[in-house]
Symmetry: C2
Subunit: 690 residues, 2 copies
């Protein structure tokens, strides 16, 4: 079993550093550039535009960071349990834990609103590259960022004008700025939890089994789209397959891979390896330790910290795998050779060379500024609060008040008209806030800010003053921003209400926001502006030399990948692509996280032991794809992707068809469980509707 990062992983990655063309089954393709011919030749399947349109029309992006699919005519949406884990935690009434015990709405009226969750279905794609690139021509540094963001704000605003209530328009940057596409989404901002199994069942094996296979996780959930208080009619849904997947069967995964880095230069990968990832891993490790101890203090603390700890451990393992891949010197050496090959081909064409310039050297030089600014920018801006909800609310309220007063195209991009509705929903949706957990998070953030920026740094004085992280976090955790009504009062009240607030967190953000904005400006001027400019030039070079028959890095926008049900050979051992119900009871030890939920302890005789439980496919996915439907050649949904195998951790930098595998839970297993373990005839009936 592929339990650790082995030499095979390293060898694998060497062959897959992104070059001009993709290997078999590689790629997270946009729907307007689907490689039909390649699919036909490698899988023998004809995928026509109607098939693609139908899948696109049922593929869902969840604003909380997952993927999903519509699977009934009544707005029923199929995703992973871990995609609604935070929602289940937030909906749990006092002394009830829907994460631990699962949740199932007996009637429609019991389906509960998931705070901050918006479902989005892509309806149109159009190319806006010329408009964006014209706006940024000749611009550099922060001016480049501002011009680009302004152009995007205008495009998004105009495209959705008059239909903002039901649509979201978003410009997606693809190929590192080589192309900009306008994606129009039908949006549903009232998404309610229908059913999720116990965390023990959905995440059996817990962190130790995460990213491993064989696997026994029933990682599914259902939510439902609502509008005007009623379930949305969704005639364009995928059909639910009750049959098990078959070995070698072609599979398609439609979803929203979050982020890959297959187009970065060698120097950017080095910064990732030496700066960004080590720092992230250390931060995550320490706060993980604090949260584990916090969780052990009481069942109530465990419930409060559940989602944060789950998400943290999942990310930690993924980043750890990335770092392991990057410290293999051959990976970056292969990337450097690929960079050099492209540079040589450009140099051979003087006219092209004149157009492109030397963006690789530009990026290499920027790394010094990146090293200097990474931590200040992180602690003061992108990672400020380090997950504190109170801080997040306060920053959104303070900044929205300031930004909304400006013309749309002059705002920070997260506050433009096209983005405000989702932000407003996020700020105003009622969601529980736990002061004890807030204090822990804030204290951790402030103490690391002081540690890494040093006690004598001006930023430390700005954020901490004469306080200690302990005293300041205790004061800030007393904020009233956990109260949604108070947030609404400040949101509606605008700048004057915000400035008049005596809430400690609002006062804190007001006092520190200038410093945060200043470091952001400096970062854009010295790092992200010049980087994005250079990346755009490299993308142009790549298009010119290799053509456009490739896929862009993942950007949490809709993609489709193709592959087939298949295991792999791990250090000479064949790993079968299936697990079966029967294996679950064999693996259970009775101790967490290898213990069974009570309803499963005696279910062995009720379910068919030969049912395919989880399965693996060759599809190319990455985090963000969680909940994506796994679709057969006929367009039926046969599973939900919930993980990759251990080799997928290096998938950030490349894909190897021999080893990278998607891990999915089968609809066959879910159907069997709904029927014999969860007693859900109504859901089964709804899934059978055509």
């Amino acid at each position: 079993m592929p339990k650790i990062l082995t030499a095979a992983l390293c060898a694998a990655l060497l062959s897959v550093v992104a070059l001009g063309s993709a290997s078999a089954n590689e790629g997270m393709w946009t729907f307007d550039n689907f490689p039909s011919a390649e699919v036909k030749s490698s899988l023998g399947v004809d995928i026509d535009p109607q098939w693609l349109a139908r899948v696109r029309g049922a593929a869902v992006r969840l604003s909380t960071g997952c993927s999903a699919s519509v699977v009934s005519p009544d707005g029923l949406v199929f995703s992973n349990a871990h995609c609604v884990r935070e929602c289940a935690q937030q909906l749990s009434p006092p002394k009830m834990d829907y994460v631990a015990n699962g949740f199932s709405a007996a009637r429609r009226a019991d389906e509960g609103l998931c705070p901050g969750m918006q479902a989005e279905i892509l309806t149109a794609i159009s190319d806006v590259t010329p408009t964006v690139q014209a706006a940024t021509a000749e611009k550099t540094g922060q001016a480049f960022i501002k011009a680009r963001d302004a152009a995007i704000a205008v495009i998004e605003q105009h495209a959705c004008a008059g239909r903002e209530a039901k649509f979201r328009c978003q410009v997606i940057s693809l190929y590192d700025g080589g192309r900009y596409s306008l994606y129009t989404y039908r949006k549903y901002s009232d998404v309610r939890l229908v059913m999720v199994p116990e965390a023990q069942t959905a995440f059996f094996g817990g962190d130790p089994d995460n990213f491993n296979f064989p696997r026994y996780d029933l990682d599914f959930s259902f939510v439902r789209l609502y509008e005007n208080g009623k379930a949305v009619a969704t005639p364009d849904h995928l059909h639910w397959s009750f049959a098990a997947p078959k070995p070698g069967e072609p599979t398609f995964v439609a979803g929203n891979p979050g982020s890959t880095d297959r187009l970065l230069t060698a120097e950017q990968l080095e910064s990732r390896r030496d700066l960004a990832l080590p720092w992230t891993l250390l931060l995550f490790s320490e706060v993980r330790g604090r949260l584990i101890r916090f969780s052990e203090e009481s069942p109530e603390h465990a419930r409060m910290a559940d989602f944060l700890l789950f998400a943290l451990e999942n990310s930690f393992k993924a980043f750890y795998g990335q770092e392991k891949a990057l410290v293999n010197p051959a990976l970056i050496a292969a990337k450097r050779r690929a960079d050099q090959e492209l540079r040589a081909r450009i140099a051979a064409d003087p006219k092209l060379a004149d157009t492109i310039g030397d963006p690789w050297s530009d990026i290499a030089k920027i790394q010094t500024d990146y090293a200097a600014l990474m931590m200040p920018y992180g602690f003061e801006e992108t990672r400020a609060g380090l997950g504190s909800h109170l801080f997040g609310y306060a920053r959104a309220l303070v900044r929205a008040a300031a930004e909304r007063a400006k013309p749309n195209s002059e705002r920070l991009p997260e506050y433009t008209d096209s983005r405000l509705p989702l932000l407003e929903k996020d700020v105003l949706d009622p969601a529980p806030v736990y002061p004890e957990l807030e204090q822990l998070t804030l204290e951790f953030w402030l103490s690391k800010l002081r540690e890494y920026l040093t006690a004598d740094a001006p930023a430390t004085r700005t954020f901490l003053g004469q306080d200690s992280p302990q005293t300041l976090s205790a004061a800030l955790a007393k904020s009233r921003l956990g109260d949604a009504a108070y947030r609404k009062q400040l949101w509606d009240g605008g700048p004057s209400a915000v400035k008049a607030s005596n809430d400690p967190m609002i006062r804190f953000v007001l006092a520190t926001d200038e410093a945060s904005r200043a470091v952001r400006k400096e970062y854009e001027q010295r790092v992200s502006g010049p980087t994005d400019r250079a990346s755009e030039a490299i993308a142009k070079a790549r298009f010119t030399v290799y053509g456009t028959s490739t896929y862009p890095d993942a950007t949490f926008s809709l993609r489709i990948s193709f592959g087939k049900v298949d295991g792999w050979t791990d250090n000479g051992v064949a790993v079968q692509p299936f697990t079966y119900f029967s294996g679950l009871w064999k693996r259970a030890t009775g101790q967490s996280p290898f213990d069974l939920a009570s309803r499963w302890q005696h279910a062995e005789d009720r379910v068919n032991p030969a049912t395919v439980f989880d399965f693996t496919t060759t599809n190319d996915i990455i985090g963000g794809n969680s909940g994506s439907p796994v679709i057969d050649a006929q367009g039926n949904v046969i599973g939900a992707a919930f993980d990759s195998n251990i080799y997928g951790l290096g998938g950030d930098f490349g894909y190897d068809a021999r080893l990278n595998r998607t891990v999915a839970v089968s609809t066959a297993a879910i159907s069997e469980a709904l029927r014999h373990v969860y007693d859900q005839p109504a859901l089964l009936q709804e899934l059978s509707a055509r």
Copy 2:
């Protein structure tokens, strides 16, 4: 102020990768190879053999990992507060916290035994290289390790035969096995705490100020040597200076630097950078998080975890600095050039080449086995228990019972006759054990063992069985081994008593020790044996090509470094070598760790504000040197080294006279505090005795 690792640090390190000869003030010299001529030429001071003998006779090694010096005729020993921090914690009676409040024995009878602490004064050095190397000739792998350890056991046993009660004989490996020296120590196993100031005062600025300067730490302590219940007469003591150090004044530091890596090959440094340090930092980060939260749960928990957390944070910062130094690619590139220069010179001499072979390639090849075995060896053997005292006791009892039954030269080296007395003291000295803290530590260890070795690894099954880390650690924390009387019963009872014990921790170690010994054997066979063999060959090559006028890597054995009182220039800013009492109140904010102990809050008018508080010198030191006397040219003690500046963190790999600085607390400041703040006329009188 040098608060972060800057480009200057990186630049500095490039010039100091250990080559054949040392730069000015570089070196941790053995007392039998003191560079008198170099000292004369660089400092203008004549150091004669009498001076060296007198300093050596007063220099103390504390078995708990620090250095110190005898400073009165009545066995009074001067060291750092942080060197007795664990002792103060252990001596604290219920509801009393000697770490937080400080401790001062009103009478001799109140001086309290520091558990496990032995003071050792070096009395003789002799060369035993031929004997050891003859025993290992032609041997490889684990056979090499066994032959070497057996030879050492015999040498140590014979050298101290008949005088074991008062002497300790230890063979010290120098120059990575290029030389073996027999060090004979007069030992004192009854060391009692006399005085230590409050942690707030000794460690003002805490972790944020650690490794920084300007600094305001009164990091001193006094312990006393006892024998047969009486203070030991120590006519050979250093004279205490009441005068402040002067700019440019020559300084000597005599102490026990713990470990440096200036002679490692480039490939070994790469393994350090990519494997050992990242893993260590991640482990330390997470357990740090758990301990911080544990400490915040109650004042009692804070007291229990105090020393562990302090030591952990200190090590974390040091390792973090090492990693920062190693990710600078120029450092390892410089090391590789140095390796290649030496290899070229060997290759040019066919006869020498034939003798030396190619140990660099051997070491490069070993790194694959190191990568595979580092974690199993760490979790199951060297880091087993990850600091649990109960585990440590159990392993010592189980193994001592088994090993003592074997002939001396066939035992694991930590159980040979020469080492048993200190081990026995360590096991039998009464010291408090905190079950809550034990459980935390054990749970952490077991959960990380499972995480990094994977849930399905045979080792995980051996150590964890069907348990979870939570359940098993809870069971093990119920061990009776916290009771010194029970430990004595098992120690005296030998194998039969150990085997008959129903103590859960003893049973656990009995059940897992075979696995631990097996992985150790494999590691010695595939990693440490071949490495030590190759390192010995490189050392021989280095001696042949560069001569012996250099110093060996640090090995926690007595060394002396020379230098002078001096500041440095930090990114163009001159840092003065002194702080003064007056600065303490300026830096205090009232919030931990920048708050003053109550007796200091109103002491500003009682002490001379112009007294030199802390100071910096150019001496080359490393961890283990803590507590080392800083000595003037006349042989008087003028301070105690307690830290290095931030550049010293890269000192593991090299020394740069422009930037590396020792940080010491002045005897002038201590004298002033004893007189006007701590009211200690008796101590002052004792320090004045000649």
